[in-house]
């Protein structure tokens, strides 16, 4: 009996070679990419900092918007450098830079993730519709994509925010409503060739409707470029949000966010280096980590990048 079982085990050995989907292959490549993995670790740290922002406030004992006019400012009313009480120094109003950076991470990540999600959903749905349905739908959507891609995005974003007044919702919507076009264009291009393939014909002959074919059969085939684009879009969105804040169109004060902090620090960069350095560093490290990670994701999904 035992021998028989052992026999079976031996016979089943070759089964260890399993079929791997392109997705799991890409994931394997990504896991071997040291730079991408380090970047991912940095991203996780930043996310932790955002989640644990209240802990920063509790440990230092400084709420993010508390102004320490005596303790946090020099007798001349200038920001104080890093010291035992304020680890990364204070800003022009005597607030704790470290705690504000931690809270600022929440805004950057929140906008980065939500605006990117909106962008990708709109872009994928409209790109799918344009590429798959064709005809008048495609004509209208393709024109719409052209319009959005031709508009000077930052100018119109500034104009929109100045009309509606700055808020988190407006920032997210403005970014989402203007960035979807590039996603839609990528998806549309892919779908245009996919819809001529046999598996679409097969699905149709089995009685599947347009919507089912679009989302169940075609969509999985465009997921790879969308994933790559999404990871590279997050840092762009974070920078855009910071840019709007820097131009005074971010979140209304005193909400801490990185672009706004850098903007406030402009008049002090000759006297208080920490005030601009640390928020700037936080922003740079975040975008760099996302870009390096996105770069790794792109290489991992690139069929030409076989590293044998």
């Amino acid at each position: 009996m035992t021998a028989a079982i052992e026999m079976v085990d031996v016979l089943e050995e070759p089964k260890a070679i399993e079929g791997r989907s392109p997705f799991s292959l890409a994931l394997r490549r990504l896991r071997k990419d040291k730079v991408a993995m380090i970047s991912l670790a940095v991203i996780v740290l930043i996310v932790l900092m955002a989640i644990l922002a209240p802990v920063f406030a509790a440990v230092t004992g400084h709420p993010p918007n508390e102004q320490y006019r005596d303790l946090g400012l020099t007798p001349d009313g200038l920001p104080r450098g890093p010291n035992g009480t304020f680890w990364l120094g204070t800003d022009d109003l005597g607030r704790d830079v470290l705690v504000r950076i931690a809270y600022g991470a929440r805004i950057s990540l929140l906008v980065g993730v939500i605006a990117t999600a909106i962008t990708v959903v709109i872009g994928v749905v409209l790109g799918l519709a344009a590429g798959f349905l064709g005809g008048i739908t495609d004509t209208i959507l393709a024109r719409l994509i052209d319009v959005v891609l031709s508009v000077p995005f930052l100018l119109v974003a500034i104009a929109l925010v100045s009309v509606t007044g700055p808020s988190l919702t407006v920032t997210v919507l403005v970014i989402g409503c203007f960035s979807w076009a590039s996603v839609a264009r990528i998806v549309r291009g892919q779908v245009l060739s996919l819809r001529e393939r046999e598996f679409v014909e097969a699905a149709r002959s089995l009685g599947a409707g347009d919507r089912r074919i679009m989302f169940v059969d075609v969509l999985p085939n465009v997921i790879a470029p969308v994933i790559v684009y999404t990871t590279l879009l997050i840092p762009v969105v974070i920078v855009t949000q910071a840019t709007l804040s820097f131009l005074g169109l971010g979140l209304p004060p005193p909400t801490p966010d990185w672009g706004g902090m850098i903007s406030e620090s402009q008049n002090y960069y000759t006297t208080a280096w920490w005030f601009i350095l640390f928020p700037g560093l936080a922003l740079l490290v975040t975008t760099l980590a996302f870009n390096l990670f996105g770069d790794g994701v792109r290489d991992a999904f690139d069929p030409r990048a076989d590293r044998t």
Binding site: R143, D146, V147, L149, S150, V151, P152, F153, L154, L155, V156, I158, A159, L160, S162, V163, T164, P235, V239, A242, T243, F246, L247, G259, I262, Q266, Y269, T270, I276, G280, L283, L284, T287, L288, F290, N291, L292, D295
Partner: protein, 319 residues
């Protein structure tokens, strides 16, 4: 080719028209208090009504739009609300600054991007390749305002403090005032812009160069005993540059309305900064004028890119 051009130009005009409708609608839906601002604190309702009438703000929105459109077709974009200066004149004054900024930066980022891309592609996966990719991504990750402030800190503030007043804190000096001051005022903004954009070009050049260097005709060229540098530059780079040229056209078109931040940081009164000022003052004709002009730049650049593509690559047929 002619049919292609006509269709593309038709599309372009359609796109611009849609943008004009959208921008117009946006600002007329929003509450406007321009007349109030112009009338000042002591403005009586009569004065405000008179100002509104003079600016045409008392007409229904669609009439205002038709009026605007009728003039725009003739190349007249209206007058600014505050000083009654023609918008075309305002654009004409700001444009040379933005163009100087964009073109100068373009020279730098093309040189940097293509050079680094070729080095990366000829030594794939080497230390130089990794280093250059990291260098490019590092600056690509920089928010433009942060990079601008950093350059100002080190190359203006620190340097001037050490007695080397090579760079001004910002502002613009027209070419007419001598090429030296013009260059001096623009060098930092050029560097700031070029470092940001070079990354895209490094990646593009590297990718397409790697593809091209794997082609048969490159092997043929090598086997004929042609020097490696000649193979790379003359045979390889020439065909590898097509996507770079495409991207270059698109970027240049977008920069006309897209250098808002760089212009703000370096106090350059170009199109971007003019538009931001106009937005803050709700100076509608100027905003619409600049947005339309910048969009037109993108549309024209895209058409030129398509034509350039056909010229560069004989396999492409336009139809």
């Amino acid at each position: 080719m002619a049919m292609f051009l006509i269709r593309r130009i038709g599309h372009g005009i359609l796109v611009l028209w849609l943008i004009s409708v959208a921008v117009f609608a946006l600002f007329f839906v929003a509450p406007s208090n321009v007349a109030q601002t112009l009338a000042g604190r002591q403005g009586t309702p009569e004065t405000i009504a008179l100002i509104k009438h003079r600016l045409g703000l008392d007409l229904p929105v669609w009439q205002q739009y038709l009026h605007f459109l009728g003039n725009a077709v003739k190349g007249d974009l209206g007058y600014d609300y505050y000083h009654q200066v023609p918008v075309t004149h305002i654009i004409g004054q700001a444009l040379p600054i933005t163009v100087s900024l964009a073109l100068g930066a373009a020279v730098l980022w093309l040189a940097l991007g293509v050079f680094n891309g070729v080095i990366s592609a000829t030594h794939p996966r080497s230390l130089a390749d990794r280093g250059l990719t990291l260098f490019a991504l590092f600056f690509y990750s920089f928010p433009s305002f942060l990079l601008g402030l950093l350059l100002l800190y080190f190359l203006y503030f620190r340097l001037t403090l050490s007695g080397f007043g090579w760079f001004p804190a910002g502002g613009y000096s027209p070419l007419a005032g001598g090429i030296g001051p013009w260059f001096q005022h623009l060098l930092l903004p050029w560097i700031a812009l070029a470092l940001l954009l070079a990354a895209t070009y490094t990646r593009l050049t590297r990718g397409s160069m790697l593809d091209v260097l794997g082609e048969d005709y490159i092997r043929t060229a090598r086997s004929k005993g042609i020097r490696e540098s000649r193979v790379v530059v003359v045979h390889g780079l020439r065909s590898a540059l097509t996507p770079v040229v495409t991207q270059f056209g698109i970027d240049l078109g977008q920069l006309i309305g897209g250098v808002v931040v760089t212009e703000t940081v370096f106090s350059l009164p170009g199109l971007g900064q003019t538009a931001v000022t106009a937005i803050n003052q709700q100076d509608l004709p100027v905003i619409i004028g600049i947005v339309l002009f910048a969009s037109a730049a993108v549309v024209v650049a895209n058409i030129l890119v398509d034509i350039g593509y056909a010229v560069l690559d004989p396999r492409v047929r336009l139809h």
